[in-house]
């Protein structure tokens, strides 16, 4: 990746991620006697995010979406690359600087019941961030919490309730209220709606969009639901085995996917109208174990269009003529040789 040119602070992206990598040391199967190995959960991920915009990250389970989120938040330390938030590198987790930064970046979780303390009334939990960061006078906390409850569409009656007395959607609203009471500029949403009912999903999505407009929030939206991503994201990045394989405008990317993996993902979106249905591309095999990442393009064992070059040469994430970024030799027309004989 090229270094970003110096830009005036106003135009500076909220979040800049460059060549982000995180490796874990694991043991292969065999328990205590298994050979140690390195698992590259995230490998060379780069993106920018501006205020008031949403970047969606999609991909199947285990592709490094959540690790990316944790790296962006600074909960995990990267083993390579860097994360800059509002022009400053994210400090090491647990330090005072890191804790202070929580005021600016917050997170919404997949499982809202797990993220709430079941012994404390939800109103107390919504105002807890104020207590943690010592913001304002104690007397104002309650009214501030009530304001936020109102902003997420819950009345004052919810203040004294316990998490187990609320529905899934209401709990997710509480988590949102708690995250937003600090007035952050970045909200990382890790599959915020996948644990909710479809009817409640729509409510929470609309709420997220309202809150984004109201507080000028930047969203990093992690999901495996492409329809939701298309609905709320300004940009979407598709991840496969720890790398971004395609990135661009969701309408472009999800209508005419360039990367074979994105094509397979998009073909899996159910479409009601029979006339508009596309042929379903079913990928061969399972995603490879990230410990044994294939040489060359990591998607080649499952790729229907793989060529000889894909087996040895890692494709770079480069722009197509229409502006989106794709990491695929075939899509760039660089594959050269004819498609590999079917395995």
């Amino acid at each position: 990746m090229t270094d970003t040119p110096i830009v005036p602070p106003a135009d500076r992206p909220l979040l800049q991620v460059r060549d982000l990598a995180r490796a874990f040391h694991v043991r292969r199967a065999g328990g205590f006697f298994g050979r140690p190995a390195t698992l590259h959960a995230v490998d060379g991920v780069s993106f920018d995010l501006r205020r008031g915009r949403t970047l969606g990250i999609v991909g199947e389970s285990g592709c490094g979406k959540t690790t990316t989120a944790r790296l962006v938040l600074g909960v995990l330390t990267p083993t390579g690359g860097r994360v800059e938030f509002e022009g400053e590198a994210v400090p090491a987790p647990g330090t005072a600087a890191w804790r202070a930064l929580r005021r600016r970046m917050q997170m919404v979780y997949q499982d809202p019941l797990g993220a709430l303390d079941r012994r404390i009334p939800v109103g107390q939990q919504v105002m807890e961030p104020l207590a943690i960061h010592g913001i304002g006078a104690r007397a104002e906390w309650r009214s501030r919490a009530l304001e936020l409850l109102d902003a997420v569409g819950l009345g004052a009656t919810f203040f004294a309730r316990y998490p187990h007395e609320l529905s899934g959607g209401q709990r997710q609203r509480i988590v949102l209220a708690r995250a937003l009471i600090l007035e952050p500029s970045l909200l990382v949403c890790d599959e915020p709606i996948s644990a909710l009912d479809v009817s409640i999903q729509a409510q929470v999505i609309n709420l997220l969009l309202d809150l984004q407009a109201r507080f000028d929030l930047g969203f990093l939206f992690i999901s495996h639901d492409l329809k939701v991503v298309r609905q709320i994201c300004h940009e979407v990045a598709v991840m496969y085995l720890g790398r971004i394989v395609e990135q661009g405008d969701p309408d472009q990317l999800l209508v005419e996917p360039a990367h074979p993996y994105t094509q397979a993902l998009v073909s899996a979106i159910p479409i009601a109208a029979a006339a508009r249905r596309r042929p379903r591309l079913i990928l061969k095999g399972d995603p490879p174990n990230p410990v044994d990442r294939p040489a060359g393009c990591s998607f080649h064992p499952r790729c229907p269009a793989a060529t000889a070059r894909c087996l040895v040469d890692i494709p770079a994430l480069k722009p197509l003529p229409d502006g989106r970024l794709v990491a695929c030799h075939v899509a760039h027309g660089e594959a050269g040789a004819r498609p590999r004989a079917a395995a």
């Binding site: 890191w98 804790r99 929580r102 917050q106 797990g114 303390d117 079941r118 943690i132």
Partner: protein, 315 residues
């Protein structure tokens, strides 16, 4: 009695789950004929009330033993040695529970023993719980080599028979009441350490503690405000289970002559010195034995009940 009432809470739970599954109208119909007494006993089962009453009585005795006891625990009356209790064919109303081999009043000694045994068990359990929870949370917070050291200490403690440790310590350092209480506090700490370490790690890895950390909370807040209150119910229940054990351990060590030393007296000490007269004057050891059994049973019952009460999701 203990058996029939002991099944009370679970039967009550079944009834509530059954009611929950009924349509709303029927619940009202079922609730209506139940009187205030029935509802009271559902919240406070009779076995729990009896156990609580017994514990309160023991605490009362421990607090006011100087007023309650007719004699000092050292007062001897050699002319009235081995007098049987009044309901055992005894005639001396001055010694309701009889006297021991030195003519000391068993009832008075029993009251002083209750105080001593409760004191040792209470502080012993408290020290063990504090030490264990602290080490467990320390291990969960720092992980790495701190955790390895704590885990090794836990394994060491769990694999050594405590009686041997106690004998060694008492043999080397002599015996004093403070040392003895500290020794009791060293018993069973590894259980609290294991519990608190496991629960704190799981809370940290995912869920509420991780979420609060992500809000920027300092460690004292995460552990003090969130993790400790959440794991407290589990710890309190293990405390109530350990409390009787500490009483029994104290009794055992005193029975072996290594615990509370004469002229001080404790329940185990009384049982130990009474064993020589078990055929001629069994009341000397029967009275403290009954107290040990009833007190440990009461605390276990209350602990079990407390666990359910402390969980807001079960209310």
């Amino acid at each position: 009695m203990a058996i029939t009432t002991g099944s009370g809470p679970s039967a009550g739970e079944d009834a509530t789950t059954r009611e929950r599954n009924l349509p709303p109208g029927e619940i009202v119909e079922k609730r209506a004929p139940r009187g205030r007494t029935a509802r009271f006993f559902e919240a406070w089962p009779p076995s729990v009330l009896l156990a609580l009453g017994w514990i309160l009585a023991m605490l009362f005795i421990a607090a006011f033993v100087e007023i309650l006891a007719a004699y000092s625990y050292t007062a001897m009356d050699l002319r009235a040695r081995l007098t049987p209790p009044v309901f055992w064919g005894g005639t001396d109303v001055r010694h309701l529970l009889g006297t021991d081999e030195l003519g000391r009043d068993v009832l008075s000694r029993l009251l002083y023993s209750i105080r001593m045994s409760l004191l040792i068990a209470f502080f012993g359990t408290l020290i063990a719980a504090t030490l264990g929870t602290f080490l467990g949370i320390l291990a969960a917070h720092f992980r790495g080599w701190v955790e390895d050291v704590v885990l090794m200490a836990i394994d060491f403690q769990a694999s050594m028979p405590f009686l041997i440790i106690a004998l060694a310590v008492l043999a080397f350092f002599g015996n004093s009441l403070i040392l003895f209480i500290c020794l009791m506090g060293f018993h069973g700490w590894e259980r609290y350490a294991r519990i608190s370490r496991g629960l704190a790690i799981s809370a940290n890895e995912q869920g509420y503690a991780g979420a609060v950390r992500q809000l920027g909370a300092p460690a004292w807040r995460i552990y003090g405000r969130h993790i400790l209150p959440n794991i407290a119910s589990t710890l309190i229940v293990s405390m109530t289970l350990a409390f009787p054990e500490t009483i029994l351990l104290e009794s055992g060590l005193s029975f072996l002559g290594l615990g509370v030393q004469p002229p001080l007296t404790s329940l185990g000490n009384m049982v130990g010195y009474g064993r020589e007269y078990i055929t001629r004057a069994p009341w000397i050891m029967l009275a403290p034995s009954v107290i040990i059994i009833l007190t440990t049973l009461s605390i276990s019952i209350v602990g079990d009940w407390l666990r359910d009460r402390l969980d807001p999701t079960l209310k």
